[in-house]
Symmetry: C2
Subunit: 269 residues, 2 copies
Amino acid sequence: MIDCGEGTQMQMQRYKFSYRKLSHVFISHLHGDHYLGLMGMISTFNLFNRKDPLYVFGPEALKDVLDLHLKVSDVHLNYDLIFYPLLKKEVIYEDEKLTVSCFPLKHRIPTWGFLFKEKENSERNLNKEFIEKFRPGIEQIHKIKYGADFQAQEGAILKNEDITYFPKSLSYAYCCDTLYDEELIPEIRGVDLLYHEATFGNKNEAIAGNKFHSTAAQAATLAAKAGAGKLLLGHFSARYIDREELLDEARYVFPNSELSKEGETYTIV
Amino acid sequence: MIDCGEGTQMQMQRYKFSYRKLSHVFISHLHGDHYLGLMGMISTFNLFNRKDPLYVFGPEALKDVLDLHLKVSDVHLNYDLIFYPLLKKEVIYEDEKLTVSCFPLKHRIPTWGFLFKEKENSERNLNKEFIEKFRPGIEQIHKIKYGADFQAQEGAILKNEDITYFPKSLSYAYCCDTLYDEELIPEIRGVDLLYHEATFGNKNEAIAGNKFHSTAAQAATLAAKAGAGKLLLGHFSARYIDREELLDEARYVFPNSELSKEGETYTIV
């Protein structure tokens, strides 16, 4: 979970997102709309008798906030709440398939972006056409995935590189809230999907700057300069009831832009 | 406003309760469901450019919570947030019409009940029958309200006490969360409307005791012993999907009991 505003629990219920699936929470910064749902969610997990640890990554001061809330409510968690403070650009999570890194954004208070990156695959995928034509057995498939050639019944040998490919490793970056900042380009270069805040439109570019936010067109410019595959816009100011204006401004700069909508699911590619 | 759980802002919007009407917030205790909406609401007021002061009454430690949230979010309020710590049983608010007092409840952490009491009226109301029969002018009405007799055109003099009455001063007490506690009786004696928590039903009386909560029947017993006019039950455990069972158990002890329902308005008498 990235950020956890007030009402996150209600939204999880509404969209039937199981509490049990959640193990890691990444908090970008300590403005209320990005973290005020966290304390309630942590308490609810306790009421529901959670046993699995919960990992929380966020600005250093979030530790003080969590500690104070647990202290004043005299809640003793029956699961481990493991806090990891964001202090510098670094890899903050790694498993066999994925790394997560954080990098600083430019906002009014310390704010962090996150990059989720699948590792390069060591396992090949078999070409669909090959499978359909030759229908290899499970044991053969396993060998081919790790580099073996295939001996067809007619005697011909099909080379591994002709019947397999390495699946693309996908990446997703989250940049919210932030000024337009070209220093982010090396952090997010070539990302498949960039979520970038677009609080304002072109007409309010000056306000965006004053408030340490971005416009939709600035988000699109960053996506273009970083060579992102797709841009997902979000964090719209309440003044934009019709957000098509923001989408148009972004698409003018970077055509593969989308508006994020509450409750929707978006794919990385 | 009494207590301010997560999502209070959404509920205010939903039930079209104007932010501007809100000047005083009373927080009973620091369990999440009673105060986690406060920090967001305070920030939203700031975004909406509130100028009027906001008075917050609550357990002492709430001050630390509010201070820490304002500090970590680096929010500087453009209105006065005036905090009053609840430390002992006392009158915490008074104006020409109303007093508000707090008194300690018995819960796992420091928790406060509140009594809202209209002052005795110094102004009389005119009997409806008198107004309809004699149709006094505005100036006459004013004099009668402050004690004057009325000279009818036929010459008879109607005495003030025969044509007026003092309107009843209403009172409302809020007791949530708490064990069943007869020490509350002197605090709430004769209250017109008692809101009392009823987290559990008779079958779970032991659980209620362990968790420092009450049953519906206990709430009703307290209402009866304190001579309350009406009892409003609330704070039901999620295990009671059908709450009629709780209502039945309360009404068996104190017939004038009601279930509180989300979004409903209840009158004091």
